[in-house]
C-alpha cells in the first residue's frame, strides 16, 4: 500500500514533468518573440535574455522608422496593413454569416434530395488545395477588376469562412429539439419568424463563437492575399514577410509586428474557449 502511493506520486511527478517540457516547447517561441520585440537594434545580436527593454520597435512600426536610410524600407505603413486585415476578415465573416446561417438552418432542418452532397461540397472547399482556385482566379480577377480589391479578398475568403460557419452552425441547429419549432408552428407562426425569434437566439453563443473563429482563420490567411492582393489590400500576414527579407536589422521590428498582429487572435480564442473544440472540428466534436 505504501509503495503503491509512492509510485503513484512518482508517476504524477513524471507526468507533470513531461507536460512541463511540452509546454516549454509550445510557449517558448511566443515568449521569445515578445522578448525580441523589446530589444533595441544594438542588443539584438549581443544578448539573449538580459537586456534593456525598449518600446522603440512598436513606436517604429506605428509611427515610422527613425533609421530609414538608403536601402532600408520604411515600415510605418503597418497601421494600414492592420486595417486591411481587419476589413478583409470582418467583411468575409459578415458575408459568410449572411449567406451561411440560412444555409446551415436548411441543412439541419429540412430533408431534401442532395442534402448531404451539398454539405460535403461546402466541406470540400476547406480541404481543397488553394492553388486550384487561386491560379484561375488570378486571371478572372484581373478581367473583372477585382484584383487587389477588398471585395476580391472577401470573396475568396469565403473558401475559409463559409465551410466553417455552415458546418458548425448546422451542428448547433441540430442540437435544438424540433418540438420547439413544431409547437410554434401549431401556434401559427410562419417558419421565418420561428427561425428569427426562437432558433437564432438559442444558437447565439455558438454563432458568435463560430464567427470569431472564422475571423481568426481569415485573419491568419496568407496564400490568398499573397497572390490576389497587391499593395492596396496587403494584409499583416503578407507584410510580415517583408520585414524579415528587407534587412537583417529588422528582426526586432518583425517581432513587434508579430506580437501586435497575434494579439487579436489570442484574445478572441481565449474568449471562446468553451466553444473552440466544436468550432475547430467543424461541429464533429461537441467539446
Amino acid at each position: 500500500m505504501e509503495t503503491n502511493s509512492i509510485n503513484k506520486r512518482l508517476a504524477g511527478l513524471l507526468s507533470d514533468g513531461f507536460l512541463a517540457v511540452y509546454f516549454l516547447f509550445a510557449l517558448f517561441p511566443i515568449l521569445w518573440m515578445v522578448l525580441v520585440s523589446l530589444k533595441s537594434g544594438e542588443e539584438l545580436f549581443t544578448t539573449q535574455f538580459i537586456f534593456h527593454p525598449t518600446l522603440e520597435n512598436y513606436r517604429a512600426i506605428f509611427f515610422g522608422d527613425t533609421r530609414v536610410g538608403a536601402g532600408v524600407v520604411a515600415k510605418q505603413e503597418f497601421p494600414q496593413y492592420f486595417l486591411n486585415s481587419l476589413i478583409a476578415s470582418t467583411g468575409a465573416v459578415i458575408l459568410s454569416l449572411l449567406v451561411g446561417v440560412p444555409a446551415a438552418y436548411a441543412l439541419a432542418r429540412f430533408n431534401f434530395k442532395g442534402k448531404e452532397d451539398l454539405a460535403f461540397t461546402f466541406l470540400s472547399f476547406r480541404f481543397a488545395p488553394e492553388m486550384v482556385v487561386i491560379i484561375p482566379l488570378s486571371v478572372i480577377y484581373r478581367q473583372l477588376g477585382l484584383y487587389d480589391t477588398y471585395f476580391g479578398i472577401i470573396w475568396v475568403y469565403q473558401l475559409v469562412t463559409l465551410p466553417l460557419l455552415i458546418w458548425v452552425l448546422r451542428s448547433y441547429f441540430e442540437d435544438i429539439s424540433p418540438d420547439i419549432e413544431q409547437a410554434a408552428m401549431i401556434d401559427g407562426y410562419p417558419w421565418w419568424r420561428i427561425f428569427w425569434n426562437i432558433l437564432l437566439p438559442l444558437v447565439r453563443p455558438g454563432l458568435a463563437a463560430a464567427a470569431l473563429l472564422a475571423f481568426v482563420f481569415a485573419w491568419n490567411n496568407f496564400i490568398f492575399p499573397l497572390v490576389l492582393g497587391g499593395s492596396h489590400v496587403q494584409t499583416v500576414t503578407v507584410a510580415s514577410l517583408g520585414y524579415i527579407s528587407s534587412a537583417q536589422g529588422f528582426f526586432n521590428r518583425m517581432a513587434a509586428a508579430s506580437v501586435i498582429s497575434s494579439i487579436p487572435q489570442i484574445v478572441l480564442a481565449l474568449s471562446i474557449q468553451r466553444y473552440l473544440i466544436r468550432g475547430l472540428s467543424f461541429g464533429a466534436v461537441k467539446g
Partner: protein
C-alpha cells in the same frame, strides 16, 4: 397516384433550396474557378504570352508533369511532409491529452495556453521559428551548444530542411490533436473504466481495450484535418524557404505556385494542384466514411 398525394406542395419542397440560395450563389462563384482551372490545364496559357489561352494542347501539361524528372521527388516530399507531421502530432497530441486528463492543478493551469501556437498566423509562427534558427540572432543553436550538441543549419541545408519545417508544423498543430483528443477522453462514460480498475486491469490493458477503441473516432478527426491540411501545406514551407534550398521542399502546392506565378507558366502549374485535389478528395472521402463507421462502433452498435 397515392405517392403523388403524399408529396408536400412545391412551395414547401423548394423551401430549403430557397433558404440556401444565397449560399448557393457563393458556391457557384467558387465552383466557377474550379471548372476554369480544369479548362486552363488543357491550354498553353502563360502570363507572358498573350493569346496563349486559346491554344488548346490536350493532355500536354499533364504528360509534362508525369514525365518531369522532379515529379517523383515532388510526390515523395508532399507525402513525407504530410505523413511525418500528422504522425508526430497524433502521437504527441495523444500523450499530452492523456496527461492533461488527470487530476492535476498543473495540467489545469496549462490547458488554456494550449491554443496559443495554433491561433497565431502560420506565416508569423514560421517566421518566429526562422528567427530562432537564424545563425546570428537565433537561440536554438546556443541552446543546442549548451547541452553539448553541435550547431545545426536548420532549413538552410537539404539534410535538415524537412526536419525544420515538420518541427514548425508539429509545434503549431499538436495542440489541435491534443484538444480534440482531450475532448474525446472527457466524453467517455466512467463506468467501464471503473470496472476495469476494480478488476485490477493494467494501464496498457485499459488503454488498448477501452481507451483506444473509444478514441478512434476522435483520432480519425485529427487525421482527417491534419493530413488534408499538411498535404496542401503552403504557408510554413513558403515562409521558411519558398521550397528551397534548391528543390528540397518543392511539394505539389509549392511546385504549382512556382510554375504558375514565378515562371508565369500558368497552365503548366495547374496539373499539380488538380492532382493534389484529387488525392485529397479521395482520401478525405474514405476517411470520413471510415469515421462514421468508427463512431457507430465506439457507440457500441
Amino acid at each position: 397516384m397515392t405517392e403523388e398525394k403524399l408529396q408536400p406542395p412545391l412551395g414547401v419542397r423548394i423551401r430549403p433550396w430557397l433558404i440556401a440560395l444565397p449560399a448557393l450563389i457563393v458556391l457557384i462563384g467558387i465552383l466557377y474557378p474550379f471548372l476554369t482551372a480544369i479548362y486552363y490545364s488543357f491550354t498553353a496559357y502563360a502570363l507572358n504570352r498573350p493569346g496563349s489561352l486559346d491554344q488548346f494542347v490536350g493532355f500536354r501539361n499533364y504528360v509534362r508533369m508525369f514525365t518531369d524528372d522532379d515529379f517523383l521527388y515532388s510526390t515523395y516530399i508532399t507525402f513525407a511532409y504530410a505523413l511525418l507531421s500528422t504522425g508526430v502530432e497524433l502521437v504527441l497530441g495523444l500523450a499530452v491529452a492523456l496527461l492533461l486528463n488527470r487530476e492535476s492543478r498543473f495540467a489545469k493551469i496549462l490547458t488554456p495556453t494550449l491554443i496559443f501556437p495554433m491561433m497565431i498566423a502560420p506565416v508569423i509562427g514560421t517566421l518566429i521559428w526562422k528567427m530562432m534558427m537564424q545563425p546570428s540572432v537565433g537561440i536554438l543553436n546556443p541552446m543546442l551548444n549548451l547541452v553539448g550538441l553541435p550547431s545545426l543549419q536548420w532549413a538552410a541545408v537539404p539534410e535538415t530542411a524537412l526536419f525544420s519545417v515538420v518541427l514548425v508544423d508539429v509545434w503549431m498543430f499538436t495542440p489541435f490533436a491534443a484538444l480534440i483528443l482531450t475532448a474525446g477522453l472527457r466524453s467517455f462514460p466512467s463506468a467501464p473504466f471503473e470496472a476495469a480498475r476494480v478488476d485490477g486491469a493494467s494501464f496498457w490493458f485499459t488503454f488498448r481495450n477501452l481507451t483506444l477503441p473509444m478514441l478512434t473516432p476522435f483520432i480519425l478527426i485529427v487525421v482527417v484535418f491534419r493530413l488534408m491540411d499538411s498535404l496542401k501545406m503552403f504557408d510554413i514551407i513558403f515562409a521558411m524557404t519558398e521550397g528551397g534550398p534548391g528543390r528540397t521542399l518543392m511539394t505539389y502546392q509549392l511546385t504549382a505556385y512556382r510554375t504558375s506565378f514565378q515562371f508565369q507558366r500558368l497552365a503548366q502549374g495547374l496539373p499539380y494542384a488538380i492532382l493534389l485535389y484529387i488525392i485529397i478528395y479521395i482520401t478525405s472521402f474514405y476517411l470520413i466514411k471510415f469515421w462514421g463507421r468508427a463512431q457507430r462502433r465506439a457507440a457500441g452498435y
